[in-house]
């Protein structure tokens, strides 16, 4: 046994021990609460409570231990080494904590512990059954971070593993070195936190999201408890505030993710329908639906089955989302999913267990429950034992759906008369179902990689059917390698905009409906004003934002969101008489409407102002390519971009960030005076009278400009192009930057100018990262070396240079200054501007040789072309040129070979997008949060 030096073994051992204690505690709590509920003996419940407390302390201990390890930089631990380093600011230590798979499970567990203890204190007689279910989830989560081996199978993944104990390192020679920590340089510092995540959003976004996830467990446990106690409505009252708390926190977590993407990441927007984003959105949607059905069923049980289904499915979808993002099944489809790490089987069992539990509890009959449980266990055994997991899962799914249908028919089929068409409950029910459909559509499209896995075992069957029937559909299924929709955003928008339209429309009038029956005349009167004003606003917006008839779906959604906002805002003074006590719903609905309206305006009318106006048209290559993404800015150049002129000033380094300073100038209408001449294309014009330029030349030309009949080429080049705008005063500056990180790769981060009504979002797409130093000049891009002969030409993107001759400078001044041992060569170049092929320039770069080697050079800079030619080498060659098949005949004349360095003026490539009305979205987020919070507070007080 080697005595290792410098390790802090106690921390890992403590962490592992606490993990085991937390697992045992959760198991004991499950047992205690279960028996307490079954036997109604208070002793068992007390035991359960005690065990949950023990579990809670253990989890807090685990969290504390991991923090201590991170805080002290104990890099012998894999988790610490992978997720932190010495140079990282301490404020990001929390980000390190939950960056990895294990840490984020811990965060989730931690929130469960917090919520579980609140439940113990407040759930009263629901404590027993609720905490039974609650504790089972903690068992699963404890197993996820257990990290023990049973045979060759690793169960869970522990954050307390030493690097030398990793399976891939066991037996390596260095693990036997007692002083490996000091001897191997890699252990001196950790790998550090991904720079993308060194951001305050990463400090607040995951806790909010996981608290939201954790909150979905509470209604789930109440629903199961209700089914268990055969009290199918009593659970709704206590679960209701929790549900809206979950809606509030999960919603905030999701929107924070969007804000993070927008503010600090260069994704070019706040929502991209990425699978990982979708996976967190879907449970929120079903939770909202469940919450609204709770309000309905609390009054009168009319849609109990839907309520149970939505409440149960929300937590199942949280598990499914965990499965998708952590098991590695998303693989190539998402930019930010975790890799698998062998978590798939565990996560799958976690998911399927709660699917099974939900179905079992919904089935009303004991015998059927046993039957279903037996089939499920048999399928589990067959699936694992015979390695036919996918058919077993599909069969399990089919049996589960069958059981659900049968449960519905037996226990939930309502014999009561249906609700009135003009009742609030009816439309709340419809709205919830639309939300469910919306969630299903997102889930389907996000699950495309899962479909591949599910279809895989049937490749042969599909192939056989396809061959027999000649059906291309089945043949396609046989080698199905489905990829997510190529145009993801268009795909989701196509489906989700109609759903959003229905939901927002329902939000607009839902609250004006009464329970049971509404006085339609009154209802119409109350809504008429909001309706008409919304209509007027929509007409104005269609005109102002230039919506076309083909965008009817956007126009409809615009109308619905405005209607929802106005009607809900109007509800407070008109119906609630200004009382804010019950205004939570209205405020939240206004917020939701604003979120959708802001998203609608800013994304449908986002304007990529960084248009490629300069050079080659990408559509030559492919019709589908667009030119409107990136703009090239030479340093010092002032270019019109959108409503401003932009000038790239210089770059500077601060810490690890390389900032690219840009100034933005007002674009003021240009005034021309009599006699001014301008160039338009290949023509010259002279101003007839003093005038202010209009928006385009064609409009101005007849009244203000006379074409010049005769002019020289030289005049043409030297005349400025006509432009509508002149550069005005500096208005603001932006500094998008690149975070330099050799380990993780450099990351470009945006810089955004915020106005009240729009944002200008810019980020660097491509730039030179070298800074000026004593030896290097950063006003030029890096040199590119061309090996050529006299008589050859060099074609670069903007210019063609012909090497006319190379000669030795022999003038007396040079000679006298340098001395005899130096030879000065000059290359004579003729350079042609490829964008104005009539323009020719001359360049004469020099190089000084001493004793047969180049020592110094003087480059020729052509400012008009923004190009620089430097002479690097001059060599005299004799003998034939060697081709692929040997010497090329007729090439044995003596030649001069030169190395020529060509550099372009320094530039960067920028993407700039204007997002109009994005502040509507952020205001909506705040109102959504505040309104939901008000509703929660109101329910808690009741």
């Amino acid at each position: 046994m080697t005595e290792y030096i410098g390790e802090h073994l106690w921390a890992g051992q403590l962490g592992q021990a606490l993990t085991v204690i937390s697992l045992v505690g959760a198991l004991l709590a499950t047992t205690g609460y279960y028996l307490g509920t079954r036997t109604a003996q208070a002793e068992w419940t007390s035991l359960g409570r005690l065990a949950f407390r023990m579990h809670s302390l253990a989890v807090l201990g685990i969290v504390g231990t991991l923090f201590v390890m991170l805080f002290n930089h104990w890099f012998e631990y894999d988790y610490v080494w992978k997720h932190s380093n010495l140079s990282m600011p301490m404020k990001y230590i929390a980000s390190c904590f939950w960056e990895g798979q294990e840490g984020s499970f811990l965060l989730w567990t931690f929130w469960h512990v917090v919520l579980g203890n609140v439940l113990i204190a407040r759930a009263k007689d629901w404590e027993g059954p609720v905490m039974t279910v609650f504790a089972t989830v903690q068992v699963f989560l404890a197993i996820m971070i257990l990290g023990v081996y049973v045979g060759d199978v690793r169960i869970g993944s522990s954050p307390f593993l030493l690097i030398r104990d990793l399976p891939e390192n066991i037996g390596l020679p260095w693990t036997a070195m007692p002083n490996y920590l000091s001897a191997i340089p890699q252990f001196a510092d950790g790998r550090g936190l991904n720079p993308l995540l060194q951001n305050y959003w990463m400090v607040i976004h995951p806790p909010a999201l996981f608290l939201g996830f954790a909150a979905t467990l509470v209604p789930f446990t109440f629903a199961i408890a209700g089914l268990w106690r055969k009290d199918r409505t009593g659970w709704i009252e206590p679960a209701l505030p929790w549900t809206f708390f979950g809606i509030m926190i999960l919603g905030a977590g999701i929107l924070m993710g969007g804000a993070w993407a927008y503010e600090a990441l260069s994704f070019g927007g706040f929502w991209a329908w990425d699978p990982v984003e979708n996976a967190s959105l879907v449970p929120w949607i079903t939770l909202v639906a469940a919450g609204h059905l709770m309000i309905v069923n609390k009054r009168k049980p009319t849609a109990l089955f839907s309520l149970f289904l939505l409440t149960l499915i929300t937590f199942v979808l949280v598990l499914y989302s965990t499965f998708l993002t952590r098991s590695g099944v998303l693989g190539d489809t998402s930019v930010h999913s975790f890799t698998g790490d062998g978590m798939l089987p565990g996560l799958l069992l976690f998911l399927l267990f709660y699917v099974g539990l939900s179905v079992v509890m919904l089935v009303p009959d004991k015998g059927q429950q046993r039957f279903y449980a037996a089939i499920s266990l048999a399928l589990l055994a067959i699936g694992v034992g015979l390695q036919v997991q996918v058919p077993a899962i599909l069969l399990f799914g089919a049996v589960s759906i069958g059981m659900l249908v049968s449960a519905y028919r037996q226990a939930f089929l309502s014999r009561e008369p249906e609700e009135s068409l003009w009742s609030r409950e009816f439309w709340l029910f419809i709205g919830s179902l639309v939300l469910l459909l919306s969630a299903m559509q997102i889930t389907f499209s996000t699950s495309v990689p899962v479909f591949n896995l599910l279809l895989e075992p049937f490749d042969k069957v599909f192939g056989w059917v396809g061959e027999k029937t000649g059906s291309t559909f089945f043949q396609g299924l046989a080698d199905a390698k489905l990829a997510p929709p190529g145009e993801a955003i268009a795909h989701y928008n196509k489906w989700q905009i109609p759903f959003a339209f229905i939901v927002t429309f329902l939000i607009a009038f839902g609250q004006y409906l009464r329970w049971k029956e509404t006085d339609v005349r009154k209802f119409r009167k109350q809504l008429a004003l909001s309706f008409l004003v919304s209509l007027a606003i929509t007409v104005a917006a269609v005109y102002l934002l230039k919506y076309r008839l083909a965008e009817l779906n956007l126009i409809a959604l615009f109308f619905a969101t405005v209607f929802a906002i106005l009607a809900n805002a109007w509800y407070v003074p008109s119906i609630l008489k200004g009382s804010l006590r019950n205004a939570g719903a209205s405020v939240a609905h206004v917020g939701f409407g604003l979120v959708l309206l802001g998203a609608l305006i800013s994304t449908s009318r986002q304007n990529e102002v960084s248009r490629n106006t300069r050079n080659m048209d990408l559509r030559f290559l492919n019709d589908g390519f667009n030119n409107s993404e990136d703009i090239l800015l030479y340093r010092g150049d002032t270019v019109l971009m959108g409503q401003h002129f932009v000038r790239y000033i210089a770059k500077r380094q601060e810490g690890v960030n390389l900032y690219y300073d840009m100034d933005y100038f007002a674009a003021v209408p240009r005034t021309y005076s009599v006699g001014d001449s301008v160039r338009v294309g290949d023509m010259l014009f002279v101003a007839k009278n003093a005038h202010q330029a209009g928006p385009n030349f064609l409009g101005d030309q007849p009244t203000n400009w006379t074409p010049l009949e005769e002019f020289t080429r030289r005049e043409l080049w030297h005349t400025r192009e006509w432009s509508a705008y002149a550069v005005g005063d500096r208005v603001f500056g932006l500094a998008p930057f690149v975070q330099l990180n050799p380990r993780f790769g450099n990351v470009a981060e945006p810089s955004t100018k915020h106005w009240a009504h729009r944002d200008l979002y810019t980020h660097v797409r491509y730039a030179d990262l070298t800074l000026a130093s004593d030896t290097a000049d950063d006003t030029w891009m890096p040199d590119r070396l061309y090996e050529k002969h006299v008589g050859d030409s060099i074609i670069t993107p903007t210019a063609m240079a012909i090497i006319d001759s190379v000669y030795i400078l022999k003038d007396s001044v040079t000679k006298r200054m340098l001395g005899d041992q130096y030879t000065v060569y000059a290359a004579q170049l003729r350079v042609r501007d490829l964008y104005q092929p009539d323009r020719w320039f001359e360049a004469r770069p020099l190089v000084i040789y001493a004793n047969g080697a180049p020592v110094m050079g003087k480059a020729a800079e052509l400012e008009g072309l923004r190009i620089k030619y430097g002479l690097a080498t001059v060599r005299f060659e004799e003998g034939p040129v060697m081709g692929h098949g040997g010497p090329i005949p007729g090439t044995d004349k003596p030649r001069i070979a030169i190395g020529l360095n060509v550099a372009e003026s320094e530039f960067l490539v920028l993407q700039a997008i204007v997002f109009p009305g994005i502040n509507i979205l952020w205001i909506g987020c705040v109102l959504l949060f505040v309104g939901t919070g008000m509703a929660v507070w109101q329910r808690v007080r009741q």
Partner: protein, 149 residues
């Protein structure tokens, strides 16, 4: 007035709906229809993973192609020609290589990329025209844990 109000208040009693075709049934049918529509729609809109050979056989059809960057071939990105065009060679998982025109600026650390997913179509000249690309770098999300003694 009272009478009138009663008259204009349409409370649709269930008797108006034919027996056996309750409103809930209609809703259920609509829901199921839309759900199936959404499922088929997501399958219909979904793209296909393919190798280069398959993409070349069907020029103009959109595919996702998974592969790696061929580092031995030249990566051409000339912003002064076009800032949103990168040309490079990719090797798919079967080992076949192909010249790719990507309509995007050259990503940061493109040379270090480990895995590429191109979204686009082949053209008639045996080149691939990619509209978009997902790129995974070795250390960004995956684990880089090579401590050699």
């Amino acid at each position: 007035m009272e009478k009138n109000a009663d008259h204009t208040m349409p409370s649709y009693p269930n008797a108006q709906v034919p027996k056996g075709m309750k409103r809930s049934h209609i809703i259920a049918i609509v829901i199921i229809a839309v759900a199936i529509g959404a499922l088929v729609g997501s399958l219909y809109d979904s793209s296909t993973y393919a190798d280069l050979e398959q993409a070349m056989e069907n020029p103009g059809k959109e595919y996702h192609v998974v592969g790696t960057l061929d580092r031995s071939a030249e990566i051409v990105y000339e912003p002064s020609l076009n800032a949103s065009l990168t040309t490079f060679t990719m090797r798919d998982l079967t080992g076949k290589t192909c010249r790719v025109h990507l309509a995007k600026a050259k990503p940061q650390d493109f040379e270090r990329s480990e895995r590429l997913v191109l979204i686009g179509e082949a053209n008639e000249h045996g080149e691939f025209e990619a509209r978009d690309m997902l790129m995974k770098c070795p250390s960004k999300y995956n684990e880089e844990n090579k401590v050699n003694g």
